[in-house]
């Protein structure tokens, strides 16, 4: 079984049951509130389907990533109105473009389906692509158009060129391992017993802060820290759980 196309992914969510492409259409028509769509559950459903297949079609999987990334982006815009944006997008333009592209893509998908059906209906048609098995008669002497032998030279040098490596330079490599922050926070706790999150991450970029926050949540999950935040957007205070308390928690 091939990697499932995200469009045919059947969802069974509290909010919605049906194929993913219908959900997408409903969201775009504002008939389903995107804020209510559990994107994580959609991912889990897709991963479950993926787990049931033998071979991975990277292209189908990429398609899923692209669509889910788009959904997450739309949803985050919705949830954080007025959040500062690197490139403020004209909402009207963006909506227009999204609708146009979805319509264009829907037509292409319909054309692809037609081709698929046609091939299936016709069955395999076999014909010779190579030359006839026995020599065709020699051409008579005739006037011919002249060509530049340099074109042949260029053709053979082209064949010698090594295959182009895939250029990934446009994808910034920003590997910030969670374990670095785990180690750093544990050291801080050993030394001081407590610290504020903002101090610990000052000077880091967005990605760094996000990973640091993840590490913090991980420490909390493991029962190693207590977290306190007096009010929204106030500094997060991190305190070590005492060894005796931790033993109790584990027991």
């Amino acid at each position: 079984m091939a990697t499932p196309s995200v469009f045919s992914l059947e969802l069974d969510l509290d909010l919605f049951a049906g194929p993913f492409d219908l959900l997408l259409a409903l969201v775009l028509r504002d008939e389903v509130d995107l804020a209510e769509v559990p994107v994580a559950e959609v991912c889990v459903a897709y991963l479950e389907r993926l787990g049931a297949t033998s071979d991975l079609d990277l292209e189908a999987a990429t398609e899923f990533l692209v669509l889910v990334a788009a959904l997450v982006e739309m949803k985050s815009r919705l949830l954080i109105p007025g959040a500062e944006d690197d490139e403020p997008l004209d909402a009207l333009e963006a909506a227009d473009e999204l609708a146009a592209r979805l319509a264009e893509y829907a037509r292409i998908r319909a054309a692809a389906a037609w081709l698929g059906d046609r091939r299936h209906d016709l069955g395999r048609r076999l014909f010779r692509v190579g030359p006839a098995p026995l020599a065709a008669p020699r051409p008579p002497d005739r006037e011919v158009m002249s060509s530049d032998p340099a074109a042949l030279a260029a053709a053979i040098t082209r064949l010698l060129r090594p295959a182009l490596a895939v250029d990934l330079s446009h994808l910034p490599r920003r590997l910030v391992p969670v374990r670095d922050f785990l180690a750093r926070f544990r050291r801080l706790l050993d030394e001081r017993g407590s610290f504020t999150f903002d101090d610990a991450v000052s000077g880091l970029d967005r990605m760094g802060i996000a990973v640091a926050f993840w590490a913090l949540l991980d420490l909390y999950r493991r029962g190693e820290v207590l977290l306190a935040q007096p009010e929204a957007f106030a500094a997060i205070e991190v305190a070590a759980v005492t060894a005796s308390f931790r033993r109790e928690a584990v027991a």
Partner: protein, 191 residues
């Protein structure tokens, strides 16, 4: 069987691509009407159930192909290119090129939203698309178009002209207009 019928049969046999009536008439130095009659006689002789090779009308011309009853055995002969079904990505890429080609890979990617590089390479390998010169945009990317093999595999009698119109394939044009309006309203509200 007239002499001209034999000539037309030989021409269709040695040619590597389907030939039009005009081409056959020119090469055989015969009036097109006579060529058409010869093609009729040939189609009679090479009909399904009567011959292992049949005349087909394809890509705006005529060609010979293996009869339907023999395809299983013939497929074993050309087993080095097994009939793997085309993936969804390959079919979509093919559709984009058939309807909007010649197109470069970046253009195909723009329509589909995901990279088309793998699908394009696979389709070139299968002979369904081929390079068609270079585009005028910066970097002069290679353009791709569908091949006669594509016409033959999909049984397109008049080539790309035999494809259903794109409008007929998207019956919900009105719906997508409505969708666009709706999105515009939402966008305006959110501002």
């Amino acid at each position: 069987m007239t002499e001209l019928t034999h000539v037309v049969e030989a021409l269709l046999f040695i040619a590597s691509e389907p030939l039009t009536v005009a081409e056959l008439a020119e090469v055989a130095a015969a009036p097109p009407e006579r060529v058409e009659r010869a093609l009729d006689a040939l189609a009679e002789r090479h009909a399904e159930g009567r011959s292992g090779v049949v005349v087909e009308r394809v890509a705006g011309g005529y060609g010979l192909r293996a009869a339907a009853s023999t395809t299983d055995v013939c497929a074993r002969l050309v087993a080095r290119s097994p009939d793997r079904p085309l993936s969804q990505a390959a079919l979509e890429t093919l559709a984009v090129i058939a309807y909007a080609g010649p197109l470069s890979r970046p253009e195909i990617t723009r329509v589909r939203g995901v990279s088309a590089d793998g699908a394009v390479a696979g389709l070139v390998d299968r002979g369904l698309i081929e390079e068609a010169g270079r585009g005028g945009t910066p970097g002069a990317p290679v353009l791709y178009c569908t091949t006669t093999v594509f016409d033959r595999v999909f049984g397109l009698e008049e080539g790309l002209a035999s494809l259903p119109s794109i409008e007929s394939l998207a019956p919900d044009e009105a719906r997508s207009d409505a969708l666009r309006e709706r999105l515009a309203v939402v966008a305006a509200e959110r501002g």
